[in-house]
Symmetry: C2
Subunit: 281 residues, 2 copies
Amino acid sequence: MSCSSSISMEIADKETSQDNIEQVELLSGVYDHYDGVIVEMKEAMDPKEFGSLLRASLSQWKQLGKRGIWIKLPIELANLIEVVVKEGFDFHHAERNYLMLVRWIAETTNSLPANASHRVGIGAFVMNSNRELLVVQELSGIFRGSGVWKLPTGVVNEGEDICEAAIRELKEETGVDAEFVEVLAFRQSHASYFTKSDLFFVCMLQPCSFDIQKQASEIEAAKWMPIEEYADQPFVKENSGFDYVAKICLAKANDSYIGFSAKPAYSASGKRTYIYSKLEI
Amino acid sequence: MSCSSSISMEIADKETSQDNIEQVELLSGVYDHYDGVIVEMKEAMDPKEFGSLLRASLSQWKQLGKRGIWIKLPIELANLIEVVVKEGFDFHHAERNYLMLVRWIAETTNSLPANASHRVGIGAFVMNSNRELLVVQELSGIFRGSGVWKLPTGVVNEGEDICEAAIRELKEETGVDAEFVEVLAFRQSHASYFTKSDLFFVCMLQPCSFDIQKQASEIEAAKWMPIEEYADQPFVKENSGFDYVAKICLAKANDSYIGFSAKPAYSASGKRTYIYSKLEI
């Protein structure tokens, strides 16, 4: 998906003209590794003029053997969306400020990658030396007013490491500083957020401070609670998912459990990643 | 985010009229758990008429103390997008056939949930009784033509369990049937797919069949390869991420490693989930 080639469509245009094919103005785009073209619209344009350019460009790209055509429209150019849809494009994904549309123009089977499918969350398992767990009650959501004490939880941002998100969310919700230790377990669930799936990582953190300053906007109450008392809550015992996670936390508290620690590594393209595993090297 | 309430806007309208406030036609919507309204447009409408209805509805929803307003437009109604944007809405997410727009109308801080942020993939670690690993060479992507032998990999679909996706992808790419054993490790990387992050789970599978029938469209070659030979490939040794994963696979092959197995459980809302952990109960 990355646009490593910066060949613009003007070059394709020039090559074509050498073959005595009529020279037409085309949309500017970059080529990707998968015989795709990515067009990022930045300037306003008359919808009719844009439609003509798009049609001419599609014809040219087909001749060049391109397969997937991507058009990125900033929200300011929402008036061009209808034109792109009329040329056979589907929506691919959208972020706050832009919409990405895509069309497969090859004769071969469509091999376009799917949209992002998962939201990722963390739960923080934080225990002090008295075997007390840091727990919260939330101001909104399905547990509001239920009296259930929960692990502090939060959403991992796009581009954020799980181990960093756990530390950040714990600090935001409770004011407690901590260091990441391990991922103890994770849960995958579905249709949890519109149609999207959810991955939730239970992270063990070692607290470095103990004074609680709860977040006013999201947290009703926060306290240190004996771990056995947490695990004995009727709600926890009655819900297999919560009960199982509580048992994992108890096993960890009793030193009879090793989770996945985080090891920095580099991907094939040189990006820094974290690999979570049990292997110590 | 789930729409558990089916109270339509007609009811709000009726209550309002009892208070002698002028009765106006409003958009139909459902209320959610977070003081939100979700409007799903299904029928074509004149953009101007739609704009008037939307403005009247926004005013009404504000009076009712609503906070987040969601408008879902199917791709066939792309001509209405511009109208919604002009009323101060942002894009939230898009799938192939629809666009979701959202606007925060309360005075309080915007607490709208973020869009799905991650794509999820699997790599299949499959070994036969001769300590041979099932490996592939891919037809496209950055490894095309490199001669590098890799674990079979694939994308986990929205709504699909990681343990099921690993079995499916292995079967699709190589024709080999297998059973899920464990998640050995996972890797999180960023900006791997437009701006999205990526979670990649290395799954151990136990093969039930051994004849290879490679997928014509994606796989250049597939074979059983001694695991040490796989781990000794220069590319693997030179790339810390690949090298570390190979070491985990070797540790597993030598019976000195336990990953996270999958245990079915139920969420608080009664949905079937899987929890992946090392705890045997």
